[in-house]
């Protein structure tokens, strides 16, 4: 009996045949696997050859960056005029007031840097005490922003919102829109899922009303009609009007994002907490919302992206945000004719923020997905 037992002999692992791995195989599989594939590759290579070298030549090799006025660029028209962006950089980023008062420029710089210092640890996975950081961002940071940028305390001169411009204004509008709309949106989402018919109906009407109307109409309404809504004597400046319009608009979108999260929460969670004898608010705040918000973060971030892009519409009602600043600068006598550079720069700044946020939200989505699968 013992003789009949064979020992299992494991064959050694061999490397795959040369032509099936490595970069040659990769190129064959991904670029030349069939006739159509090969043709596609050739078409794309040809298109690259046509467009990429001239673009690089214009944007980098022949580009102008030296000097402080347009004479350099006018002398060399074959390249981009980055001198323009360099000279106007502070205006584009901080607006006219902070750019023309060099001793005040530190204020937006501090505001942006503190924001950066708060946001970077937040998006990194392993940071401890994220909750506190987030809380600081949502509560302390706005206070700091007002003190430093608006001023009026500690001897810092007041800079009226009317003097804000450029990226600073874009940032302020989006930030206010985002953090004020968040609690409003949560309430609306809860209202939409409420069992009380009138509460539900009012929430639905509110949400669908704002979602159905283009932001530009709302901004017109805010800038033309808002003063009419109040007894004479009550007035806001333009920026605050825009902020109100943006916030109301944004709250409807936030509500829909949060509702998505609420829907995904298992009904059992609600029933379990009811069984524990918790009242509506207690179970909502302690059990339901933390889970729902976690799930809806990616969609909420997507509404941030949309809002951040949409703040550029304030340029139509006459605010000097980043886009308007770029447009105005490239139409000023000093720099007219260089609008491509102006738009490209503004577009690039918007793109960095939006792409960053969208990568983050996609990363979160994937993570949530794997978490859920692991459960």
């Amino acid at each position: 009996m013992a003789d009949s037992t064979l020992k299992f002999k494991k064959l050694p692992d061999r490397d795959p045949p040369e032509n099936t791995i490595g970069w040659i195989a990769w190129i064959r599989d991904n670029l030349f696997s069939s006739a159509t594939n090969t043709l596609t590759t050739l078409i794309f290579v040809y298109l690259f050859y046509l467009y990429i070298p001239p673009f690089i030549e214009w944007a980098i090799i022949n580009a102008n960056i030296s000097g402080t006025d347009r004479s350099v660029c006018d002398a060399n028209k074959s390249g981009a005029c980055w001198t323009f962006i360099k000279v106007r950089l502070e205006q584009l980023l901080f607006g006219l007031y902070f750019a023309s008062n060099p001793e005040q420029t530190w204020r937006p710089i501090v505001a942006f840097s503190v924001f950066g210092m708060l946001i970077f640890p937040l998006v990194i996975d392993k940071t401890p005490h994220k909750k506190w950081l987030l809380l600081a961002l949502l509560t302390l940071y706005p206070v700091l922003f007002i003190c430093v940028v608006y001023g009026g305390v500690f001897g810092i001169p007041v800079s009226d919102t009317g003097q804000w411009g450029g990226l600073l204004l874009t940032f302020a509008l989006s930030f206010v829109g985002i953090i004020v709309a968040l609690p409003l949106g949560i309430l609306l989402a809860l209202g939409r899922r409420s069992e009380m018919p009138i509460v539900k109906m009012m929430s639905v009407t509110y949400i669908e009303f704002w979602r159905g109307t283009p932001l530009i109409t709302i901004l017109f309404m805010a800038s033309v009609m808002l003063p009419l809504f109040f007894p004479s004597g009550v007035d806001f400046d333009k920026v605050v009007r825009a902020m109100i319009g943006i916030t109301l608009f944004q709250s409807a979108y936030t509500a829909e994002a949060v509702r998505g999260g609420l829907q995904a929460i298992d009904k059992g969670q609600n029933e379990a907490s009811m069984a524990l004898g918790m009242g509506y608010w207690r179970r909502t705040i302690l059990i339901i919302l933390p889970q729902a918000l976690k799930i809806s973060i990616p969609s909420i971030v997507n509404t941030f992206i949309a809002l951040f892009k949409d703040t550029s519409l304030v340029s139509i009602i006459g605010l000097l945000d980043l886009l308007k600043m770029a447009q105005n600068s490239s139409r000023s006598l000093d720099w007219n004719g260089y609008d491509i550079e102006g738009y490209l720069f503004a577009g690039f700044v918007f793109w960095i923020f939006c792409f960053g946020m969208s990568s983050y939200s996609q990363k979160l989505e994937r993570k949530l997905d794997t978490d859920r699968r692991a459960e």
């Binding site: 064979l6 064959l11 099936t20």
Partner: protein, 259 residues
Amino acid sequence: MTSSAASKTPTKTEPSPIITINKLNKWYGKFHVLKDIDLNVNKTEKIVICGPSGSGKSTLIRCINRLEVHQEGSIIVDGTELTDDVKQINEIRSDVGMVFQHFNLFPHLTVLENCTLAPIWVRKKSKVEADELGMELLTKVRIPDQAHKYPGQLSGGQQQRVAIARALCMQPRVMLFDEPTSALDPEMIKEVLETMIELAESGMTMLVVTHEMGFANKVADRVIFMDEGQIVEQNDPENFFNNPKSERTKLFLSQILNH
């Protein structure tokens, strides 16, 4: 049925291989999954493949209808060697039916449409003919009354039987099963296994990856044990279960039988 009954008679006729696998080697990237596999499958033969998870069972049978591409060696199905030729691959695929662990029914088509899709478009049958054939096979797997439902409305066991009927509608010469019962509840396992046993009795050539040892014992002509991408041992069920030759097999059998 008469011809299949004849083939069931124990008289040893000349075995004619319908699948010939020669020195098959396959890699996923740098990972060597299948090593020097040699296997002949004769007409009407039923083969059960078992082995621990990750041993390459699925990969092996998926190579047979070229859902996976192998790098070395040859696979000849019904006289045609598997190459990159798309036309040949489609011909072989229409002669080889496959049943998956997770059914993979088409959710947007009714049960009957799932069955008639390939007969109509690949075999170019008329719809009436295909419907008849579909109903016949659905009757065979005992769910003719579900024909006009959508897959999502059926139980797992029913779905798997539809998947079997869908494969049979192409009137294949070989059927491949990749763990057809491992996603099912016990009582559903039984109904699917019964269907498979009936199919085996009708003389179909079958390659079945499964851990249902009762099924293997009852139906298999040969049981193959795989580990680490190799065929460790093959034998008829009686000897395989009662008198395994290799230590590795013994260990495996003791693990699954005691489980």
